[in-house]
Symmetry: C2
Subunit: 352 residues, 2 copies
DNA sequence: CCTCCTTAATGAAACGTTACAATGCTTGGT
DNA sequence: ACCAAGCATTGTAACGTTTCATTAAGGAGG
């Protein structure tokens, strides 16, 4: 029977107008203490709960920000999400977390959803297949910040220098004496993947090596299963063509590669060394602790949310910024033949 | 200038009434093809986007379901979330994912948020500290389904038999000859933790052992850091009091324990065996592959969403159900002294 | 030519808030 | 006594949809 208690019911029970109830809710200081108490009493007596839809309709926008990630089950993105969520909460905003799963169609559906909800803004790691959809959204006045992906001038983004990261990774492998490398990752529509590869190629070039020193094994997605498939293909190559080191586009792929190689009794790092990327928490505790390139995950999310809020507040003009963090190489057992203990997560951090 | 294109603008451009536009949107078949096309043309010409707030206000409820989990960075919950999300999508609903972080205060804030948004229903793994808040919500007509936690009669829940799971785990350790066990997990306000412990105790009893055979090391949360701290405390006990096997309330804790023991050069499983719980994807690829108790994670989420939707559709009366899945023991290297290859994720599955 | 049906389209009233301008009521100063 | 100023409160018009009862326009049957 109390089906939906509205501001009206509260008003009549407290013997005031709806406007006063609204005031109690939004600007308690301007209403007389006695009235305020009466209203508050009515509110709790009736179990009144504000209707956000109505508030949003009135306000013309919601208190949400959208966060569209490529894969919720990837710890990299959940850490980014936490960072964004924490900052959003500080500003009284909630985050709608959307999982595009690297599928353009899903991405589109979620963008539609977010626009329909009149979100304050959108944080997104794009699949890369809807290039100007994001511009349309911006044109409609909704701030968009790219996450983990560098934007062109005139757009906001928060990213890590993936080219540099790829360079760090390949350089590390070359320094360890490897000369037959493989890059495992994909699809190349993801800029992260392309950039990390570019970085690796740049490193090869600097070392005076030919591009052919790096075999490219493309995967349909950046997850454990894809890594396993790719490793199987690599393992089946004739021994003299087989790479001695594999640079994976992210840690999930690297873990997949590791698992498959181990299953086939190919020793890591002795026969094949493995590099991951992201340095997710589980990289350190892997069967063979993974060497990886660390990204400031939570900071990435936080900074992105900051930029978004900054833009949405600046009614006038807002200076778009591209924030770039530097990646950091973390060396562990998977690339280190001389590591002390095959199991220990012994770790050294090398420069930023 | 196109600031906010509304149904009205579309209507006037197409030369029809707003009602017709609404019909085109919601029941296209009842409007004449010619008019329909005209309206659709206007919609795309103006870049019209439906305003969900207004729709929801009108409808009295949103197209969201809320999912409140204890820890988004725990892969167990992201898998559950995916399951729930998939089913929700099939019904045109979106999921608001909320991370209580095991903190009652955050949980409360999110429940408020969800109620204000008039969500269709709430899926929650409760912290256990707001026992009747959920009943209040139910009383207001919002379906609530407990996830990963068994509910009393008259409420809906989807869970895995944690007592049985705890029993499986402890029985496995006892069969391996261990007689000094430790249980690591907490807080005990989480029913999962209590149930898993109860299962272990039940197994001890059946084996004719005293409760004192199981040392209890409580942790403040179920994450890697807590596991490391607990392992440090265990490691510092005099050798003859030190357990020979540790049963962890979840895999994150187990990974923490594993990392800390390895750091201290305590061999796993030779000196101390470790059991996890949940069988998250990373358990198999851990430094020492973790023996664990597998839960049907995605199914859990899916089934929960199913129950929720079922209840929200049944305007009349709905039969509350408690769905219970059976856990499954997965034996790997962390408890298996005779495993073939210290690194391989070699795996055997034992009964359900 | 009138009536009765069917199909298309419309007008207007909600839905629950909020903000703005307006109203009363006090109070203090002159 | 009167006015100005301040405070507390209120009426009411939005916000953008959807829905329901209506109207209008043809067409078929008599």
């Amino acid at each position: 029977m109390d089906g939906q208690v509205g501001i009206k019911d509260v008003a009549s029970r407290a013997g005031v107008s709806t406007a006063t109830v609204s005031n109690v809710l939004n600007r308690p200081h301007i209403v007389a203490p006695a009235t305020r108490d009466r209203v508050l009493a009515a509110i709790s007596a009736l179990g009144f709960i504000r209707n956000e839809s109505a508030r949003q309709l009135r306000a013309g926008r919601s208190r949400f920000i959208g966060l569209v990630v490529l894969d919720v089950t990837n710890p990299f993105f959940t850490d980014v999400a936490r960072g964004a969520e924490d900052l959003a909460n500080e500003f009284g905003l909630a985050v709608i977390l959307c999982n595009s799963d690297e599928q353009p169609a899903r991405e589109t559906r979620y963008l539609d959803l977010l626009e329909q909800h009149r979100v304050r803004g959108i944080l997104i790691t794009p699949t890369g297949s809807n290039p100007h959809r994001l511009d349309e959204i911006r044109a409609r006045g909704i701030p968009v910040v790219l996450v983990d992906r560098h934007a062109r001038r005139g757009r906001c983004s928060v990213s890590v220098d993936d080219v540099h990261g790829g360079d760090l990774a390949a350089t590390h492998l070359l320094e360890r004496g490897h000369r037959r490398l493989a890059f495992v990752g994909g699809p190349f529509t993801l800029h992260q993947v392309q950039d990390r590869l570019d970085g690796a190629l740049q490193s090869l070039k600097r070392a005076g090596l030919d591009e052919s020193a790096l075999h490219i094994e493309e995967t349909p997605a950046l997850n454990v299963a894809s890594g396993m498939d790719a490793a199987a293909r690599l393992a089946e190559r004739p021994a003299h063509q087989r790479p001695t080191a594999v640079f994976c586009a992210n840690d999930l792929v690297a873990l997949g590669v590791l698992q498959e190689l181990t299953r086939r009794h190919i020793a890591v790092p002795e026969e094949i060394a493995i590099m991951g990327y992201d340095d997710i928490a589980f990289a350190a505790s892997a069967a063979v602790p993974l060497t990886s390139v660390r990204q400031p995950r939570a900071q990435l999310g936080r900074a992105a949310a900051e930029l978004l809020i900054e833009e949405s507040r600046a009614d006038g003009h807002h200076k778009h910024r591209q924030v770039v963090f530097e990646p950091e190489l973390v060396v562990r057992g998977s690339t280190d033949m001389v590591h002390l203990d095959g199991r220990a997560g012994l770790e050294m951090t090398v420069e930023g």
